[in-house]
């Protein structure tokens, strides 16, 4: 029998009021503003946008403030808001080859055209706490511009500003494109091709995900999946659970234009720019009777600057392709599409996990009755045996 009860309204109101006070913390400390969070907690904002699956830095910053810095709670707020928005259109696929790159590195080619560009990275820092940040000290000295005698060749004072070193070395120049490393391997047929297709991809926010899921659907689920979960799975493939021998062929971070076909205009226009992180892995090769041995690929693309997630995504993407590439299923979690796709969403996981803290009085009452009865029966049997 289902018993409806009510009550606790006053308790809930008071709890929410206290929550607001705790969110504000010590009132002698200045309150955080949304622009402060957006500008100074940018990687947290990026994570909330990526997993909330909605690119809007101001809203992500607001969600972080409201959630008291609980990023999964912030993702939840963004997902809930997202459902209130009408879907106006789908964009043209973004062109990451035209990305204005802040960072672009390759672990496979030292001298790739365009060079290794480190960007604002934590790599090569010593991971020592910087107490100057706590003292709210002087701002760091800006990095010298290449024109001021930096490392860029031909940039001596008084000379014409050099063309961006990221542009077209060995490619005739002139084009702002930054070629993909996989493109070089592709020219020689050493890596599997990724032929373009503009077919409308499936969308798990419109149709419930069904298995088997094609690669487009898997990439969508991974792109919005929990960073920690995807990281753990990717790490498991490196440790031997579904090994794929990945090299980071290329990792790039930068801004791309988003272009949308506007029905009232009858052509596509750029409506804005978003920051993305893209990772392409070059993986173990395999040949067959019809195909000579060639490298295979994994792909990761994430909103914002989030290279841990992008690398992890590309490893898991590659691992999930075992069937298509004729590899053995070894039972590794990262090869199991159902295991990965049904558990990578932290909002679904949180919802089901945390619901068990809500009242289950009736369910529990039934269990309690049952265990009492079983104990009584067991006791009766024991007494009879004696």
């Amino acid at each position: 029998m289902y018993v409806a009860v009510k009550g606790g309204e006053r308790a809930i109101d008071n709890a929410h009021q206290w929550l607001a006070e705790e969110r504000r913390g010590d009132r002698s400390v200045p309150e955080l503003t949304i622009p402060q969070i957006r500008e100074q907690m940018k990687l947290a904002v990026n994570r909330v946008m990526a997993e909330g699956s909605l690119y809007d830095p101001d809203l992500a910053a607001l969600a972080i403030k409201q959630a008291r810095g609980d990023l999964i709670e912030a993702v939840f707020l963004i997902r809930a808001y997202r459902t209130t928005l009408p879907r106006l259109a789908g964009s043209r696929p973004v062109d990451t080859g035209a990305m204005a790159v802040d960072r672009r590195i390759s672990a496979t080619f030292k001298d790739l055209p365009g060079g290794q560009v480190l960007g604002p990275t934590f790599d090569y820092t010593h991971r020592l706490l910087d107490f100057a940040l706590m003292a709210e000290g002087e701002p760091p000295t800006p990095i010298p511009s290449p024109r001021g005698g930096g490392e860029v060749p031909g940039a001596a004072a008084g000379q014409e500003a050099p063309p961006s070193p990221l542009v077209g070395e060995g490619w005739g120049g002139g084009s702002p494109r930054v070629p993909h490393v996989t493109g070089f391997l592709n020219r020689d047929g050493l890596i599997e091709a990724a032929p373009p297709s503009d077919a409308t991809p499936p969308d798990l926010t419109r149709e419930p995900m069904e298995l088997p899921a094609d690669r487009a659907l898997r990439l969508q689920a991974l792109a919005r999946g929990d960073e920690g979960f995807v990281l753990g799975l990717a790490y498991s493939t490196q440790r031997g659970y579904g090994r794929t021998h990945a090299f980071v062929g290329e990792l790039r971070i930068g801004r791309v234009a988003v272009e949308v076909e506007i029905p009232e205009l009858g052509f596509a226009v750029e409506i804005g720019e978003i920051e993305l992180t893209e990772c392409e892995t070059v993986n173990q090769f395999k040949g067959s009777k019809s195909e000579p041995p060639q490298f295979t690929r994994g792909y990761g693309l994430v909103m914002g600057q989030s290279e841990r997630k992008a690398i992890a995504m590309s490893l898991v993407d590659r691992s999930l392709r075992w069937q298509e590439l004729g590899e053995d299923f070894t039972g590794a979690p990262a090869q199991d599409a159902e295991f990965v796709l049904m558990h990578c969403d932290n909002i679904q996981a949180t919802g089901f996990l945390e619901h068990i803290k809500l009242p289950h009085y009736v369910d529990f009452q039934a269990e309690l009755e049952l265990v009492r009865r079983l104990r009584a029966e067991a006791q009766t049997l024991q007494e009879a045996a004696e």
Binding site: A100, Q116, G150, S197, T200, A216, E273
Partner: protein, 147 residues
């Protein structure tokens, strides 16, 4: 007035969409009389990527977008789709799109679009220069065959 060249219109619509809303408002504080054909509306656009950077399309996630359509008192219709949730930005961009189809185009182009383009280019160049400053120059320490 001949119909504007589609390429030119694409370019100015993109410039207006990508302009910082506050800067656009500074450059064009007053809007001429106009009717709203579609009041500013906030929605989402699903951003797509390509598998492997060049392959089949997949859905990456959404972004917020505001769209608006207006008609000027003397007839031309302007449209705007701009990133974010700033309704004033969308409305202003739509009005300027309409005005760019009138005799006012050369003046607006010089007074509004040119500075926006120059500022966007300066911003892009400054970032590219910072990135260039982090480009690695490798030095050969020892070559195996030297030993």
């Amino acid at each position: 007035m001949p119909a504007p060249d589609a390429e030119a219109r694409k370019a100015w619509i993109a410039t207006l969409a990508k302009a910082p809303p506050a800067r656009l408002a500074d450059l064009m504080p007053e809007l001429p009389p106009h009717d709203l054909l579609r009041a500013p509306e906030v929605g989402a656009v699903m951003v797509r990527g390509r598998t492997g950077g060049t392959g089949a399309a997949f859905n990456l996630g959404e972004m917020t977008v505001t769209r608006c359509s207006v008609r000027l008192a003397d007839g031309p219709v302007g449209h705007a789709w701009v990133q974010g949730r700033d309704k004033a930005h969308a409305r202003r961009a739509a009005v300027i799109d309409a005005l760019m189809q009138t005799e006012a185009a050369p003046d607006l182009s010089a007074r509004i679009l040119a500075p926006l383009r120059a500022e966007a280019e300066a911003h892009r160049a400054a970032r590219a220069a910072k990135a260039a400053g982090t480009k690695v120059e490798f030095f050969t320490m020892v070559r195996g065959e030297d030993q």
